[in-house]
């Protein structure tokens, strides 16, 4: 199972800009490499990352073969209300991973 590390502030003031950091374990095999006998190593990457905040999508990224292994994605959003942030990664070979995090907004 893929491991993910999420950093969302536990508390924030309404209207405050918060930074969210995500890190997930994935080899991000480019599909351009070959084995010692010349066979192509098939591509195996994460292709899409999304983040929803209380059900509303606030961030989306498409990932490509040039991304490093264990992709680290950080972004900011405005703390609009208490609730849940859900992070979703999807990729080649049916890869999916979901993590969530709660935030209290005063």
């Amino acid at each position: 199972m893929a491991r993910a590390l999420i950093n969302v502030p536990a508390q924030a003031k309404r209207g405050e800009i918060i930074t969210i950091k995500t890190l997930i374990s994935h080899t991000m095999e480019t599909g351009f490499r070959h084995t010692s006998v010349g066979a192509t190593i098939p591509r195996d990457i994460i292709t899409t990352f999304t983040c929803t905040y209380n059900g509303e999508e606030i961030f989306r990224a498409d990932l490509f073969p040039a991304m490093a292994a264990n992709p680290f994605i950080t972004f900011t959003t405005i703390a609009t209300g208490s609730g849940t942030l859900v992070f979703n990664w999807t990729g080649d070979n049916g890869f999916t991973a979901t993590e969530s995090s709660t935030i209290t907004v005063e």
């Binding site: 491991r3 590390l5 999420i6 950093n7 950091k21 890190l23 374990s25 991000m28 490093a68 292994a69 264990n70 680290f72």
Partner: protein
Amino acid sequence: MTRWAQRSVLVALVVSATTASAQIPQSELRSGYADLGRDTKAMQDDDTTNPGMLWALDGEALWKTKAGNAERSCADCHGDAKQTMKGVSARYPAFEGTLGRPINLDQRINLCRAQQQQARPFSYESKELLALSTYIGLQSRGEKLNPPSDPRMQPSLNAGKELFSRRVGQLNLSCAQCHDDNWGKKLAGNTVPQGHPNGYPLYRLEWQSLGSLQRRLRNCMIGMRAEPYEYGSTEYVDLEVYLTSRGRGLPVETPAVRP
């Protein structure tokens, strides 16, 4: 004596002076962390951005997983790693009485697997072995490297020291020429580090993965165009014994991040 002969004597003197390298004094010891860029430092300092923590999480799960014919987990004998493994990696390699030689942490884990769990040992650099050694190493983070002063380890320490200053490979270089004599200077735009073992296993951006100290040593040997030793060989363990004694007092940074 001709002028040419005089000059070659002088050259010979200079060469012999530079090859007699001295060990770095305790007051000048510096971890490779000190030479990192701001971004890499930030990556290591925050446990939610340090990719090595992904291995530590896997290791934590493995610590509690029952394995082998004995149906036992690490936790069944050792309990909570946060208490029982504190400071352990800082004093490895250590002498193993039954084998009659020092072993490193990876070999200790595999001995435990073979003897206590009656399970198949992990192969070197496998994800499982790295995960467990990272998780165990993490419990010693901040502790100072404290190699055992066991007289039975003296032959290994001497052998490691000899290996460290022995010229090898097509480039005819020794470890000491870079890491004792020229640390702090530049090699192809990078600062030559003192070469301490306090961050291992560590996440190397170049590898896009976590690796052991032996993988790093293998890397250096390939760089010197020497034939690397086998993983787990006596030579590598001897070198580890010497490196730990050489870096005595530096804080454990496992899992460190290096470029």
